[in-house]
């Protein structure tokens, strides 16, 4: 047993070192890269959005200022002696001076296009709307303007007086930057918070993995019991896989141990008998008697050889059932392959063996070869020990697949089934017949497939032994079956 575990360890070390040649990125590294990417992308998007928003907000705020000033100036325009007169209100300029560093410009234009007062060089608006914003420049600096139109209909004067008010854009840009910067600072702080939170989550998320590792390291080398570590749901698959693996390992080791002890138990008696016979033969002087003894030695040797075959066969099947890859197979094909092994050309024609299969496939997951072996053993038992006709029946419902072997004899009691399917053969068992071994193979295969072995005996219908296992549902074929 120790030897086996060491082998396993050796294997696992080899596996680890080959995997280590291209070590995948650590979980923490992956998370950091993912979060970093999100933050970077988000940061760039937010920066652009913040600048756009800042510009928009600053534009709105200062445009209101412009309109306020322009409206005041426009409102203070009166018609005196049929001429418009602008009593420039100081508060209008105070309003504009709120943008402290900006130079200001204004122009009031009569309907005939003549400048009444202010900066003659200011551009006229292209739009006819009553309030119109536009960007232009003022003595070489970029500037924002609003033109407000006021319609007069006075005696001797009618038409629209246009008041244009503008300022350079320093304060707007400063405000836009400030808004953008503030937004950016918030995003940066949030980013730092997210990184800290992520680091914390990574640490706490990886703690269960460390616990599993610690638990495995602390174990006694002979301890193959399932891991009992509290882990989050996401890690239960890993723990489950480890536990299944250990379970399988444990079973294999058990199997091997069983093989050794069974062999010792089963082979000791016939070999001792053979040896006694051989000694007897050596001492016998009568050639006739000696020939009889040799005859007995031969028949015993044949029986021993069959027993050895069966035992090795059983060990192989059990091992295979445990280790082979489970694929989706049709239980009908298993039944066909198993019965074909008994086909001596006459057994079907004589009606001794018959196969009863459904029309639709019965899908299960399992190893075809070990299942065939199990079925063969059941059929062989029925043919040898049962009476009357033997039928092999495959059936499937939605969730359960069945393979039954029936005969018309009285069969075994459930206690006998239990006894024979045990690993150790009964003391009173007559070595050489192999019944017990066949049943124990079927039972081991059933266990490896999560199946049940069930025996039913009814006086009218004879004896039936059934392998029940979970059925697979194949999409599209569910309806057909």
């Amino acid at each position: 047993m120790d030897w086996d575990i060491n082998l396993f360890r050796l294997n696992s070390t080899v596996n680890t070192s080959t995997a280590g040649q291209k070590a995948p990125l650590s979980l923490a590294g992956r998370l950091v890269i993912a979060i970093g990417f999100i933050l970077l992308t988000g940061g760039i998007i937010v920066t652009f959005a913040a600048f756009a928003y800042g510009h928009q907000a600053a534009r709105n705020a200062f445009d209101r200022l412009l309109v306020g000033a322009a409206t005041q100036i426009s409102a203070s325009t009166t018609i005196v002696d049929q001429h418009p007169l602008v009593d420039l209100p100081v508060p209008a300029l105070e309003l504009l001076a709120l943008a402290r560093e900006d130079r200001i410009a204004y122009r009031v234009v009569a309907p005939n296009g003549v400048t009444l007062t202010g900066y003659d060089e200011l551009e006229l608006p292209v739009s006819q709307s009553d309030i119109y914003f536009f960007d232009s420049d003022f003595t070489g600096a970029p500037a924002r303007f609003v033109a407000v139109r006021r319609h007069f209909a006075e005696r001797g004067f009618s038409g629209a007086v246009i008041t244009i008010v503008g300022h350079t854009t320093l304060a707007r840009e400063a405000l836009a930057w400030e808004i953008a910067l503030n937004a950016w600072v918030v995003v940066a702080l949030a980013g730092i918070g997210m990184v800290a939170l992520a680091a914390f989550s990574i640490r706490s998320a990886l703690t269960p993995l460390r616990r599993i590792g610690d638990d495995l390291l602390r174990r006694d080398p002979k301890d193959l019991t399932p891991l009992d570590v509290a882990v989050p749901r996401e890690l239960q698959t890993i723990v489950g896989a480890i536990n299944r693996f250990m379970n399988r390992l444990s079973r294999q080791i058990d199997g091997m141990q069983n093989l050794i002890s069974d062999s010792a138990h089963q082979l000791r008696t016939p070999i001792a008998a053979l040896r006694a016979q051989a000694e007897l033969a050596a001492e016998e002087s009568d050639p006739k008697k000696q020939s009889d003894i040799v005859q007995r030695i031969h028949s015993r040797s044949v029986g021993l050889s069959r027993l050895t075959d069966q035992m090795l066969n059983r060990a192989l099947v059990i091992h295979r059932a445990d280790t082979a890859f489970h694929e989706t197979i049709d239980l009908r094909k298993v039944a066909i392959a198993a019965t074909e092994a008994f086909d001596d050309g006459a057994i079907f024609e004589s009606g001794r063996l018959r196969l009863d299969l459904p029309q639709a496939p019965v899908w299960i997951r399992g190893d075809a070869l070990s299942l065939q072996e199990a079925a063969k053993n059941l059929i062989s038992n029925a043919l040898q020990h049962g009476q009357g006709k033997v039928s092999v029946v495959v059936g499937g419902q939605l969730e359960e697949a069945r393979l039954s072997v029936k005969d018309e004899g009285k069969g075994m009691t459930p206690a006998e089934v239990q006894l024979f399917s045990q690993r150790f053969l009964a003391k009173n068992h007559k070595p050489g017949t192999g019944t017990g071994i066949g049943l124990s193979i079927a039972r081991a295969v059933a266990e490896a497939h999560g199946a049940e072995l069930e025996a039913t005996r009814s006086s009218g219908e004879g004896f039936e032994i059934t392998l029940r296992m979970p059925a697979m549902q194949r999409s599209g074929e569910v309806g057909a079956s």
Binding site: D87, L88, P89, L96, A97, A105, V108
Partner: protein, 351 residues
Amino acid sequence: MRFQASAFAALLIIVPANAQEDTAFFGLESSSQTLLVRSTTDIDVFAPVVEAFLAQEPELSVAYEQWGSNDLSSLSADNCETGTNSADLVISSAVDLQVKLVNNGCAKAHFSAATSNLPTARNWRNEIFGVTEEPAVLIYNTELVSPEEVPASRFDLIDLLRPADSRFAGRVATYDIEESGLGYLFAFMDSQQANTFGRLLEAFGRSGAIATCCSAELIDGVANGTYLIAYNVLGSYALGRAEADPRIGIRAPTDYTLVLSRAAVIPKDATSPALAGEFIDFMLSGLGQSAMSQSRLIIEFGASASANPTMPGGGPSSLRPIAISPVLLAGIDQHKRAIFLAQWRESLRRQ
């Protein structure tokens, strides 16, 4: 005809050059760099400041041109447009016209520790700096006006003029704001401060107050007894005269006192803007400020220890510095000015 036209054009160009009132050169002719300063301040008032500056920078020289405020303003505007003949530094008491120059983008910015310590009312865009502190005051004839009669505030002045038989009728003078840019600026700021101004103008009109051109005439008139009181006289000039002439008494109105800061601007086409910046920094430094105090370009009064004892008046809370900001553009707007002058004329004419 062609010749005549070009001669006329030449004359036009020369005319502004001839409008300068006086020039002076400070420092050695051989010095490597010369700073050209154009200013409205009298040479003899400003000379100590320039000399104090040159004491710090002996390798420099300063060419100083004294101008009338309107001429200086239009010259600076021309220089800005043509980009030639620019001074290195323009200092003017016509703060509103200086603000317009800056607003038109004709100034060069200057940053320094000294400029950033200036209050916002004395620094706009780092392109125009208020370098002096000169109050607008009431002056009176000490022989003809008894201490009890001396008005402490505008309300007192209105009360003095109220009686129909007031002996002050026709003997109170102020700037003719159509002639004097400084007088206009003070009057316009008065109109913004309080509605006292309307009542004061009304009292002036009713009592037949005199509007006359310049600081010198106002001070002379008070000294010789032609006027008993003159209103809104620039403190720096009045104080200078009062020290030599005991007949002149000075009072800063306690309701509020306007304080003018002459504005220094470095034109955008200045040939030595760095030197001009150094000169500005000097004027704002401790040495410069004490030189300006001696020239009475910085006047402290009220309760502080360094206050000028000959200038009784309100405390610092009554001071109204004329803020250097684009708001001053309102006063020099064509229409606004026409309307304001018409109101002023109308008020004073009323008997």
